[in-house]
Chain length 342, copies 2
DNA sequence: TTGAAAGCGCTAACAT
DNA sequence: ATGTTAGCGCTTTCAA
């Protein structure tokens, strides 16, 4: 397998074309004018030899890698997958590769990732996950590698952050439920491993207090273990049903949690939305394809990924025409999982 | 951002430690014995200077990139996301990065991807997608970059291929339905853009003929457009319901298609499994969390990804202890979406 | 418009 | 056990 096989280099092309090595380089990069005649010779030589520039060598010289890192906890979570799509699309359009780094919520793996960064394997990085190991933020900062945060609130004053207004999202969900006559509302959440999730829960509690709605401990369930999101929703949904008195509606910390809870309710004979209304968060694709389809708070995941990389590229080009905090207005998408209180 | 800032190199460390450049290198790589005393000096210097080896330089010298490419059509499809998890996990364990390349089923993007490969930006590649542009297989072959195929049948005699026995899977699904008394069975499929999907459909038709089951054109629906899989299932499900006579069961080409069809049925008042049985393919996580939970043919996606990379790494290490074709036995997972014919 | 030459930071002979 | 040195393939002054 091409080990040891002579690789075609620019030197070969230069020789074949009968010009200097640097002329080939200049032509390829457009860094100096090259006469049409010479151009032809070079092109012909490249064709004949099937020459392809070697990026590693180019990168060593240019002191960059042409790669961006994408740091997410779980690529099988459609929220992060959509985000990844936005990230890879913009990166590709700009000639960058994207190195995918998913931790599965394991903090030991974060260290490995930081190695990647510190060894200059990426020019910049999109962080969509709060490090569990706090010290890593400092290491990242000290590495000097440009970073952007997506779905992560600012941690310093140099890395731009793109987040949805999580509090507003929860308020919209709750206002909607209240407008349907609901007063007894529960909240089901995955682990609060990210500030966004903390804010959602806080916004829920604040709203409930402000409106003077009844609140019981058994109605606010937060999972501790880093299990699969849908499984978490299923477990919490079941647990909720054990409460001595049930709420008439629940808000979930994410769509996956909502889908799990929906399953728990339906399989226990609790009808949705007749007996229980549900609102999710994120608006993953499947939200509109479950039955009943899920009312949810939409986050523009793909766009958030795109925006993040756009900021990062601006940074790499020395332009800084972006705000430190980009707060996106979430949209309530009304579907079939909620109904007026009976 | 650290542009122009002096980067700490091995030379700096050597000077700081008062030893030769190569001694530092040898120590770091374990390529020659280094006395404890010298080791201490080097370690101290590294600490003091916050030195990190530069991978680009190392890679140029070693003529490798330490990165693997992962080529999939759609990372938001949980099948590919699970696969990606397997791929990135094994790669990480072996010190490789994974460059994610998703095409969104657009064949123009395949070209970009091939550039990546030809410019030696990856040491090897996992292909989980049949190129729409046939010529690319040849280009990949000519590039000399080691490749493995996952969920793609062999295209030559050098790249190992890891696939589930798609025919067996469909046969298991159909046998199960027949055992429940079903004779009128439909088939809903996403575009046949991959041989696996062709085989599934063929297996379906073959089985139906062999068993002498009734078959109507309106029962075998294959989408042409590259839309979202769930949407495809929803559309085909609706279309199926327009047939003058309905089958009592359907097999879907994948779980996402099955979920879409399930939604179509339920929202048209067709009960599942009472009026219609459904079997999916893949066993994505959500299959067990929809209501009713989906009976499906399981593909070990994560393991397939892992196996693929393991083969690739063997190849890169000059060992070739793997078969050209690894055919995995699919498992029928019985849940709640099928019932005996009423 | 073209060419010669000096590295980018590292590995790996080879010499000591 | 340690040091010297020649590149890896490319970009980029600087000269011609």
């Amino acid at each position: 397998m091409s080990r040891g096989v002579h690789r075609i280099t620019m030197r070969d092309v230069a020789k074949e074309a009968g010009v200097a090595l640097s002329t080939v380089s200049h032509f390829l990069n457009g860094t100096a004018p090259v006469s049409p005649k010479t151009q032809q010779k070079i092109i012909a030589a490249i064709e004949r030899l099937h020459y392809r520039p070697d990026f590693t060598a180019r990168n060593l010289k240019r002191r960059r890698t042409n790669a961006l890192g994408l740091f997410v906890p779980d690529i099988t979570n459609p929220f992060y997958a959509e985000l990844a799509r936005g990230v890879t699309d913009v990166a590709r359009e700009s000639g960058y590769s994207v190195i995918l780094y998913a931790t599965s919520y394991e903090s030991e793996l974060e260290e490995d990732f930081m190695e990647l960064v510190e060894q200059h394997q990426v020019d910049g990085i999109v962080v969509s996950y709060s490090f569990l190991n706090e010290g890593l933020w400092r290491r990242l900062e000290e590495s000097g590698i440009p970073a952007v945060l997506v779905d992560v609130y600012p941690v310093n004053d140099k890395w731009p952050s793109v987040v949805v207004d999580n509090e507003r999202g929860i308020e919209k969900a709750l206002s909607y439920l209240v407008s349907l006559g609901h007063t007894d509302i529960g909240y089901l959440s995955e682990p609060l491993y990210v500030l966004s999730l903390v804010k959602r829960q806080q916004a829920f509690l604040r709203f409930v207090r402000r409106k003077g709605l009844p609140l019981r401990d058994e109605w606010v369930l937060v999972e501790k273990a880093q299990k699969n999101r849908v499984e978490i929703g299923f477990t919490l949904g079941r647990r909720l049903l054990e409460a001595p008195r049930l709420p008439t509606a629940v808000v979930a910390s994410s769509d996956l949690v909502a889908l799990g809870a929906l399953k728990a309710f339906l399989s226990e004979g609790v009808r949705v939305p007749e007996d229980m209304s549900i609102v999710g968060f994120d608006d993953v694709l499947l939200a509109s394809y479950v039955h009943p389809s899920l009312t949810t708070v939409r986050q523009p995941k793909y766009e958030m990924g795109r925006t993040g990389v756009e900021y990062l590229l601006q940074f790499l080009q020395g332009r800084k025409e972006y705000p430190l905090l980009t707060l996106i207005e979430p949209i309530l998408v009304v579907r079939d999982s909620c109904r007026e209180r009976g």
